[in-house]
């Protein structure tokens, strides 16, 4: 009886079956010897002590000889044969695990690559849009317009200030002229007073000469001329006073007030253009930063995707290990079938044993870790990368 079968038998046998084990060990040789000697086997002393012959199943051997197997042994053999079916089911499970993990790994990678494709497309779109000729032209045009606007505003402010200064100068000149005219009016007044005095003196002299000289008419005309001159000087003085008031109080005040208002508006306009210019520069800066950020984020996506691609290799490593387990199961299953055939058909015992199966499994491992685990040792630390 092969050692494995013996171990299995001991595992499943009840205490009262110990006798049966002996019987099994001795039955086959005894049956073979009997078949060789005579048609009727000699009485077996052990068999006489056993239960009736009905418990023993005669089996035809390959040489058309008969040997008998106890039913419990036959049941064990059937159990061993059914192991092939069990192994087949387990192998189906392992194959399913391989298929499903491979499908899942491909899906994960595929989806990750789809995401990468979408992000890459988005990055390209943003970059292309931000750097498109139309946008760059619009930005340049806007900047140029702002610069032109600032220049125009500066010119306007300068021109306005110059005009205001000229107006103030002109008004100042008008006031100076007005003062000069007042001075001239004073002189005219002096002349009027002198003329009036001259007219009075003339009349006195003419009165001393007597009537009908005709000179009194001239004196009267001179006095009337003096009166008209005084009146004219008075009117001029009044109008000059009004003109001074208009120029000094009204016009200059309005010009100053307008200047303050215009200056404030010009400053507002200038500030607006200044802010527009500043914001344009900020906008360009943000735009450049946005492009940089988008491109950087796109680049940063590569690292986790690469890590994912590295990690997904576990599926191939696991698949190979499962395939090895499946092959090992086949080996053990074949071994059990060989053992069963040896028992039932009286075939020669299989060349292989569990020990040789294990040796074969050890020889066919693909990973050092598997060999180390098989031997119960720590795995040797060979370098993972070696360039020859």
């Amino acid at each position: 009886m092969p050692p494995l079968l013996r171990r299995l038998f001991r595992r499943f046998a009840r205490p009262q079956d110990a006798e049966v084990e002996l019987q099994v060990d001795e039955l086959a040789p005894a049956a073979d010897a009997a078949a060789e000697r005579a048609p009727e086997p000699p009485p077996d002393p052990v068999a006489e002590a056993r239960p009736p012959v009905s418990n023993v199943i005669p089996i035809a051997s390959s040489e058309n000889r008969f040997h008998r197997i106890h039913p419990q042994t036959m049941a064990l053999v059937e159990e061993m044969k059914s192991y092939a079916g069990f192994v087949e089911i387990m192998q189906h499970h392992l194959a399913n695990v391989c298929t499903e993990t491979q499908s899942a790994a491909e899906d994960i990678l595929g989806q990750a690559l789809d995401i990468e494709g979408s992000v890459t497309s988005l990055v390209r779109h943003v970059s292309d849009t931000m750097q498109s000729d139309a946008l760059l032209d619009a930005s340049d045009t806007l900047q140029l317009s702002v610069a032109t606007g600032r220049s125009v505003i500066a010119d306007l402010i300068r021109n306005h200030s110059e005009t205001q200064a000229e107006i103030r100068d002109s008004l100042s000149t008008v006031r100076t002229l007005s003062k000069r005219m007042r001075s001239h009016l004073d002189e005219i007044e002096d002349i009027r007073r002198y003329t009036d005095l001259l007219a009075i003196n003339a009349r006195i002299r003419i009165a001393g000469l007597g009537n009908n000289t005709g000179l009194d008419v001239i004196a009267e005309e001179i006095r009337a001329l003096a009166t008209q001159t005084g009146s004219l000087a008075h009117n001029l003085n009044t109008e000059l006073t009004e003109m001074d008031r208009l120029v000094g109080e009204d016009l200059l005040s309005k010009v100053s007030s307008q200047k303050s208002s215009d200056d404030a508006k010009a400053r507002d306009l200038q500030d607006s253009f200044e802010k527009l210019s500043t914001h344009m520069a900020l906008l360009n800066k943000f735009q450049a930063e946005l492009i940089g950020q988008v491109q950087q984020r796109g680049e940063e996506m590569r690292h986790p995707l690469n890590t994912l691609c590295g990690s997904i290799q576990f599926q191939d490593v696991a698949r190979q290990q499962l395939e090895q387990v499946s092959r090992a199961l086949s080996m053990i299953s074949d071994h059990f079938v060989s053992l069963s055939n040896a028992i039932i058909h009286d075939d020669a015992p299989p060349d292989s044993s569990i020990a040789t199966c294990l040796a074969s499994i050890l020889e066919n491992y693909v990973m050092e870790q598997q060999r180390a685990a098989h031997r119960g040792e720590a795995a040797a630390t060979a370098p993972k990368i070696e360039l020859f």
Binding site: Q102, A105, E106, N306, C309, D316, A382, F388
Partner: protein
């Protein structure tokens, strides 16, 4: 563009290696067996580097290397083994067959790219 040929019977490995290498700017030729790799090379493929698995059906990685060393276009092309196998005996066998290097799976993408860059000058 420098081209790397990947030979592996695992679709997962082919996909992941292609993704890593393409992202780094390499062109990628894929073959799911040694025979398929030889067909592609005979069809005009001229890779700057070959990365092959060891344990494959029909033609294993070492046999593939022996075949590649017979082809004029891959006689001097660097060939890296990418495999779960880590035994020193197998490494020695691959080296004798003409392998340039040995990488044990799973490999970190950064490590893989460093080796590829070293093997493919100017990349």
């Amino acid at each position: 563009m420098k081209t790397v040929m990947i030979v592996d019977d695992s679709p997962t490995i082919l996909m992941s290696m292609e993704s890593i290498l393409a992202r780094a700017g390499y062109g990628v030729l894929k073959a799911d067996s040694g025979e398929n790799a030889l067909q592609k090379l005979q069809g005009g493929g001229r890779p700057n580097l070959v990365i092959t698995d060891l344990n494959m059906q029909a033609m294993n990685g070492i046999d593939l290397i022996r075949n590649l060393r017979q082809l004029p276009q891959t006689r001097f092309t660097p060939i890296i083994m990418l495999t779960t196998e880590s035994s020193l005996d197998k490494r020695q066998e691959a080296r004798s067959a003409g392998a340039t290097g040995w990488i044990v799976k799973p490999v970190q993408p950064g490590d893989l790219l460093a080796v590829v860059k070293q093997m493919v000058p100017g990349s």
